[in-house]
Amino acid sequence: MKEIINNIQEKFKISEVTEQRENQYFISVEKKDTIQLVTYLKDIEKFTNFILLTAVDWIEKGQFQLTYMLNHPSKKLDIGVRTFIERENATMDSAHHLWEHVATFQRELKEMFGIDFPGSPRVDEPFLLEGWDNIPPMRRDFDTKKYSEETYFPRPGRSTNDPAEHMKKKLYPNE
């Protein structure tokens, strides 16, 4: 694994390497190099099994983290390629030409995070939702509890007490 990481570091600008396990590494790379790196890993280093593509919303930094998780089937190695993209008008190059199922992941990301992958097949079709007209739900600025309470009629009649407050009310109300 170390060897492979060294190889990559020679060829690409890797900003961060995290060793999670002996056979699981996460590396960070710039947005423009990402697809190139993934292609390189697939074709040259033979990380032929694409596990997942997902996004993490770092709203504090105004960034989405995209993680491409690749797996080397015979050497049993995992490598996670991380890249950070801007949260506003998020777009990313599509990788659907590398594996067939990448398009599904990209379709989900488009719907749930609003990250666009121009050129990916059916990327604009709704995947899980239907008739959704709010901001993409997986973005952290979308408040699911508030939305649910406003939309889905929570059953009324519930109220709770904080023990400390209640005891204050009962035992020493004047202090």
């Binding site: 995290t18 997942l52 067939e100 599904t104």
Partner: protein, 390 residues
């Protein structure tokens, strides 16, 4: 004498924009599901058919979308633990294991030996109950409902053991981060063994009823073939890959829990059709029963079953990210967990085998297949919508 193959040149084809001309009256669009006994769970397929042949298929999922990954933003790590189970209904324990293993890896907790064995036991029992339902269900998809009756009964007996051990039938919520929630009750081993003997009988009778059935063979041999090149192209895992001749099994490739101390060899076939995949899963029942017997024999009798953890009410799992995987009955089942060091997980992402099997692979496989084979194809991939949609 009566051999006839359809003349594909007469078939309608999609226009330059990829759309079909429905005004030609050679096409019907049908919705296979969600309210349809032939789909696995609550999902649907939008099929464009001509005669009995499928020209185009689109998977529609989201009927079970509950936004789990969003809900985890609002839940502490321990509160994720009961929730995560619901991500896959037929085999919930892989979720528990993955979440717990992920948290333990991030927090650097080593679980006790006893807990490892109990987890292995529960995972294998879970696999067994899933297989007992799905293997005969493969017969059910082509009209042989009898095996389902037997299989689900046995599954229920395994669920009884689950109930005894974990307190729940379907959602066990047993593998809490740090270990498990209890030891084996008295006499568990004997009762499990009684059930396993019944499963042994079932294995034989289902073979006689289904695998050695002329009509079943006719319906499944050579149908829904998956070429071996597709394995990487579509990210195929588990028994589907093994059906195509690629031995993929997380238990062997990335041994976890006590699997490195167990002796097993999952079946493999190169036919890569529905029959081969059924046969492999039928073999998996035998493997699993054997594994369960090995586990019961090798398991320590007593011991600590939970490592101490910080106060779960405000457990801050250290910053980091990890991908953990386990082998479910459908194949590699992975969790991608990101922690930002706070009380709440930053991201928990599930990558189930059905995510590709039921979407990109199924869409591809159904093209030019017969509508009668759709249900059989889906069950042969053991698609499970809740894990696609979460």
């Amino acid at each position: 004498m009566f051999h006839w193959t359809p003349d594909r040149s007469a078939f309608p084809t999609a226009g330059p924009d990829g759309k079909f001309d429905f005004d030609s009256h050679k096409l019907v669009k049908i919705w296979h599901g969600p309210n349809h006994p032939g789909v696995t769970g609550n999902m649907s397929l939008e099929l464009t058919i001509s005669g009995d042949e499928v020209l185009e298929s689109k998977t529609h999922v989201g009927y079970l979308h509950r936004g789990f990954e969003k809900l985890y933003e609002r839940r502490t790590w321990i509160q994720c633990f009961p929730t995560v189970v619901r991500m896959c209904v037929p085999e919930s324990d892989s979720n528990e294991y993955n979440l717990s293993a992920g948290i333990e890896e991030l927090a650097g907790i080593e679980i006790p030996e006893m807990a490892k064995w109990l987890r292995t036991l529960v995972l294998e029992m879970s696999r067994l109950q899933a297989l007992l339902r799905i293997v005969p269900a493969q017969g059910g998809t082509v009209g042989l409902g009898l095996g389902v009756q037997w299989g689900v009964y046995l599954r229920d007996l395994i669920l009884d053991r689950f109930e005894e051990l974990t307190g729940g039938r379907i959602y066990h919520m047993y593998m809490i981060p740090g270990g498990v929630r209890g030891l084996l009750p008295d006499g568990f081993k004997e009762r499990l063994e009684e059930n396993l003997i019944l499963v042994d009988e079932f294995v034989l009778s289902i073979k006689r009823l289904m695998l050695d059935n002329a009509v079943f063979k006719k319906r499944t041999v050579g149908i829904a073939h998956i070429p071996v090149e597709w394995i990487d192209k579509y990210g195929i895992v588990g028994f589907v890959a093994r059906g195509a001749g690629v031995k993929k099994d997380v238990r062997l490739d990335y041994p976890y829990l006590a699997y490195d101390q167990l002796d097993f060899d999952p079946a493999i076939s190169t036919d890569s059709d529905i029959y081969a995949r059924t046969w492999i899963r039928w073999n998996d029942i035998i493997t699993t029963v054997d594994l369960l017997r090995q586990i019961m024999a090798k398991m320590p009798k007593k011991g600590e079953f939970k490592a101490p953890t910080p106060n779960v009410l405000h457990w801050q799992v250290p910053k980091g990210e990890v991908y953990v995987r386990s082998e479910s009955s459908r194949g590699e089942y992975g969790f991608y967990i990101v922690s930002d060091g706070s009380k709440y997980p930053r991201r928990i992402n599930l990558r189930g085998p059905s995510y590709t099997h039921a979407v990109s692979l199924l869409e591809k496989m159904l093209v030019n297949s017969n509508i009668s084979d759709i249900a059989a194809t889906m069950v042969s991939l053991q698609t499970c919508p809740p894990e696609i949609e979460r």
